[in-house]
């Protein structure tokens, strides 16, 4: 196995929205019409706040993967998602701007099916063209009252893929099957999936297509199924992984947690998150096998060369642990635009964005890059022609703030101003480097915030221009986990 060139995974990162909706709350809301949902009312699923989407989660996962590395060395970025917000706009470019990747980075969106995540990982491993960042991100939505609503979740996973030094999980190979097995679909422009019977999908679809692809790959690699140390299946009905493992005689203890109890099915991101779950626990010599089922399947195998190095990343385990329990089911509907609450007159404000202005300050808005004065060293945001401290003109050098430590300087919880998630927490954020600015504060849990509370920065939607379909993105501060 050691003969092939050393291409594979060099870094990884993950992000799961902190809000975890209790499935019991969903079932309770629908109990009058669908009492059978109670049978699924175990555990919790992640849900996006109103200001989180496939782009913001991708940025957070990407930042996690780039921790300790260099954004400037990334040659290509692929954003895999079936829920990226723009149909004609390179969503990956927006993510890359927030990650401060070089303008020469090749950026592309991969979409069309929940399989796109693993397809992008395989393509990156096969290309061998410098450092590549693959991010799979999904904001899954389901019709209220559906079984799917209980099962889906939101999240993003990112993998840094490259060749040579630094590879700790070597790409062994992959297998692809493309067949017109349409278990579910969602037409362009539609909000919801339409799916067929689960038993058919599990027995005739996943149960037959995936084992065959894995067997083919194992045979090509000259490996027995007993060599698989970590095994996961994304895209099938629950317990598909157990059925496939049984068919291949993979021991049950090798099966990765399917994330149902904690996150839910994150669609395109699921296969990448399963890979990350494996990377977080795998030791040198372990073999990881992950399949993504959709209109056939993708299967990929990695061999661990060493345990993943510590980078201070949040990872999947850290993301799952960083949670705020949510029981307000209507918040899910409101966040997803499935009910239109009467927010009053203050919600009527026009949020037209001057795209000219946005481009002029793109690094400040997307990258959270402020300035440092060469005359007096004061770090500041925004970066404007004259220094806020000494008044010197044209002395500002770019200074990135997204990863700088910060604390609450002042704050309030604003119940008057419109916020889709009231109250609007806002206040002055004081960075240890000296910069200070007024920011929105999000993910404030039951313990609240006070002057001095440590904060981390999070890329979010700032306002939504519903008239024109444009979302403003900027950074918000959240209590440090």
């Amino acid at each position: 196995m050691a003969d092939s060139p050393r291409t594979g995974i060099k870094s990884f990162g993950a992000f799961i929205p902190r809000r975890r909706l209790q499935r019991s709350a969903i079932a309770a809301a629908h109990g009058w019409a669908f009492p059978a949902l109670k049978g699924l009312a175990k555990g919790e699923r992640s849900m996006c706040s109103w200001d989180e989407d496939a782009i913001t989660m991708a940025v957070e996962a990407g930042r996690d993967a780039l921790r300790g590395g260099s954004a400037g060395s990334i040659r290509s970025l692929t954003l895999a998602s079936t829920t990226a917000p723009y149909a004609d706009l390179n969503n990956a470019v927006l993510v890359g701007a927030a990650l401060q990747l070089a303008p020469s980075t090749a950026s592309s969106d991969a979409t069309g099916s929940t399989r796109a995540g693993l397809s992008a990982v395989i393509a990156a491993c096969r290309s061998g063209d410098g450092e590549q960042l693959v991010i799979a991100s999904e904001k899954r939505q389901a019709k209220p009252g559906s079984v799917l609503e209980m099962q889906v979740g939101c999240g993003a996973g990112a993998l840094g893929i490259g060749t040579g030094e630094g590879v700790f999980a070597r790409f062994l190979g992959s297998e692809t099957v493309s067949v017109p097995f349409f278990d579910h679909f969602r037409k362009s422009g539609s909000d919801f999936d339409y799916g067929w019977e689960e038993r058919w999908i599990r027995d005739e679809g996943v149960g037959k297509i995936v084992p065959k692809a894995i067997s083919t790959l194992l045979k090509r690699l000259g490996l027995g199924a007993d060599r698989i140390t970590h095994f996961g299946v994304a895209g099938g009905p629950s317990k598909s992984d157990i059925a496939v493992a049984k068919a291949l005689k993979i021991a049950p203890e090798k099966i990765l947690p399917d994330l149902q109890a904690t996150v839910g099915d994150t669609g395109t991101a699921q296969s990448v998150l399963l890979l990350i779950a494996a990377l977080e626990r795998a030791q040198a010599g372990d073999v990881i096998m992950v399949a993504s089922f959709a209109q056939g399947c993708e299967v990929v195998a990695f061999e661990m060369l060493a345990a993943a190095p510590a980078t201070g990343r949040r990872g999947l385990a850290g993301s799952i642990a960083s949670r705020i329990e949510e029981t307000a089911y209507l918040k899910l509907l409101s966040n997803d635009g499935q009910i239109d609450l009467d927010w009053g007159m203050r919600a009527e404000t026009d949020h037209k964005t001057a795209l000219t202005q946005l481009y002029r300050v793109a690094d400040q808005i997307f990258g959270f890059v402020g300035g440092q004065c060469t005359a007096c060293s004061t770090v500041q945001f925004p970066r404007t022609p004259s220094c806020v401290n000494c008044g010197a003109t044209h002395t500002q050098q770019p200074y990135a703030l997204a990863d700088e430590p910060a604390k609450v300087a002042t704050y309030t919880a604003d119940w008057l101003q419109f916020s889709p998630s009231p109250p609007l927490y806002m206040g002055l954020v004081q960075f240890d480097c000296g910069a200070r600015l007024l920011m929105e504060m999000v993910d404030v849990g039951p313990s609240g915030i006070d002057v001095g509370t440590p904060l981390t920065m999070s890329f979010r939607m700032k306002e939504r221009d519903k008239l024109r379909g444009w979302d403003r993105y900027f950074w918000k501060a959240a209590p440090a986990a």
């Binding site: 808005i365 704050y411 008057l416 700032k462 950074w475």
Partner: protein, 400 residues
Amino acid sequence: MATGIKDKVAILGMGCSRFGERWDCGTEDLLTEAFQEALKDAGIEKKQIEAAWYGSALDRVNVGNSAIPLSTALRLEGIPVSRVENMCATGTEALRGAVYAVASGAVDIALAIGAEKLKDTGYGGLPVIGKGTFNDLWMPYGSAPAGFAQLAAGYRAKYKVSAENLKKAIGRVSWKSHQNGAKNPKAHLQKAVEMETILNAQIIASPLGVFDCCGVSDGAACAIVTTPEIARALGKRDLVTVKALQLSASAGREQSTNQWDGSYVQNTRNAARAAYKEAGISDPLKQLSMLEVHDCFSITELVTMEDLGVSADGEAWRDVMNGKFDADGALPCQIDGGLKCFGHPVGASGLRMVYEHYLQLTGRAGPRQLKNPVMGLSHNLGGVPYNGVCAISIVGLEGA
């Protein structure tokens, strides 16, 4: 060498409309109401006014921009009319324009008038504003109370005042203004309110409850100014003159550097220092007879007492509880009810404050008349504590 404005300009007449929910009238009616009173008080004819400054802050949502809403409403034909705007400090800006015109010798008699018709906007509280470009891309849209509520967080942190004690102190600020407002027939809110009601009211922006927020009103206020010589020639005695007019605007230091701790308003400190110098005041607590401050929110008034130097830093909350700024206290503050109860028609407020001092100094304040006042300070804020403007005007008896 600049000599300042002290005693160079006298108030010839003033007027102020009734403030409140004026469903009965439009901006032109409010302007007329205030102007007619001022004209009568001045004892001149309209044609003697040679220039006018008009203050209105929120043109997007009510009276429209430019000077034309004023020149049309009052039919000020053929004279220079300017519109000025500096957020909630707009009224004082109008006064500054008129006073400076007279002091320069450019005109003999000038008009300053401010108005706002907020109750046509459909909002409780101030309307949502902010349609710039760059700031909109990063700065959160907080409400006005959210901007000022942050002072409470900063103040508590700096002086280690418990949340409970500070809540009581700011409640006491509003309680006092309600006591005063009950004696003012032109005030928007003319009812005394119990402390318990104030403390238990619905939270608007923590820790500010609804009684910690001022009334949002329709209204207009007006001043006609001239030189002391002309005022005397017109038969006026015991003149009220302008002692100081100062303004300070944020340049970013408070909100963009670590040089501000959130417990005070730098603009107030800047403007007060300059105003005291201009008026020749060395001991404000002793020399000032009364204060009208920008109590848009109770916490604002509390820290303003420290910013104006009439409470020691960290002591205003105790001074408030001890009644220092009550009608019978050492330095009465908001004797007309303040923004809290008189109301806050943005463009008019700075002039409304001066109007109260003018009434007090001329002995015409009725049941709320103070004993022998000689000098009053008006403090008019715009924007938010960390990014705004502060205008201070001091008026007093000639020679004081």
